[in-house]
Symmetry: C2
Subunit: 122 residues, 2 copies
DNA sequence: ATACTGATTAGAGTAAACTCTAAGTCAAGA
DNA sequence: TCTTGACTTAGAGTTTACTCTAATCAGTAT
């Protein structure tokens, strides 16, 4: 079990942010008798996943929604499966958009390089 | 030449946002005698590109930087090229991350489906 | 003439996601 | 015993990117 400080160092998130995530119901660590937070290995795993989602700029509300899925009981399995599938759709869509932009950027870059090459000869 | 309202409809950006972008030096349309904004075809092209960059969550400051290089003219070509290349790197990175998440989601989805199949038999 | 539409400005307000502050408790080491 | 450092809370402040308001003006429709 990790303290908030340990998790903070391990994952490079400030303790402020970890408490903020708790307030926002994104993670709910256990507590010691005197009230200190204790994060288990699976809490850390979950946070790593959250960080991945954040890297793609997924809004916190969506991550929240996702998190609430896991806190719900077994009888919501179908609902959870649907939500996962929706998320996957969204992710695949985003990949599509990014690949188009990658292509656009490539074209612009090539145009610039061509322009510079021509300049060299003049 | 387009009025602000026409551009707003054409590109699905509010007139508020268009004026905001002007204040932030992202675009500088011409003006009529009485002071109304007039956007040319190339202004619209530039805005379309800005929208694409936004889709990849490029921060406004970076778009600003790019725009200002454009206004400074020819001797900034190298700088602009570098900026584009950096952004392309960033986009490709995002694609990578998203594909990892897509994979993770697929695994989770398959696990759920397996679980549901087993339930059907019991 | 009057109302409607669409434009102008400066500046205030909002939402998201932190980020920090104040004021404190508690346990361990010099 | 003192100090250091880790932890606690509620709540205030910050940044980004809008988003809206108020007050005004010009041109057109009824």
């Amino acid at each position: 079990m990790y303290t908030i400080g340990e998790v903070s160092k391990l994952l490079n998130i400030s303790t402020h942010t970890l408490r903020f995530y708790e307030k926002e119901k994104i993670i709910t660590p256990e507590r010691t008798v005197r009230g200190d937070r204790r994060y288990s290995e699976s809490h850390v795993q979950w946070l790593r996943f959250v960080i991945k989602l954040k890297e793609t700029k997924m809004p916190l509300v969506q991550i929240q929604e996702y998190a609430s899925l896991f806190l719900q009981g077994d009888e919501t399995t179908h609902k959870r499966l649907n939500l996962l599938k929706n998320h996957q759709d969204h992710v695949q869509n985003q990949i599509q958009v990014l690949m188009e932009i990658d292509d656009l950027l490539l074209k612009k870059i090539l145009a610039y390089e061509e322009y510079l090459r021509k300049q060299d000869f003049s």
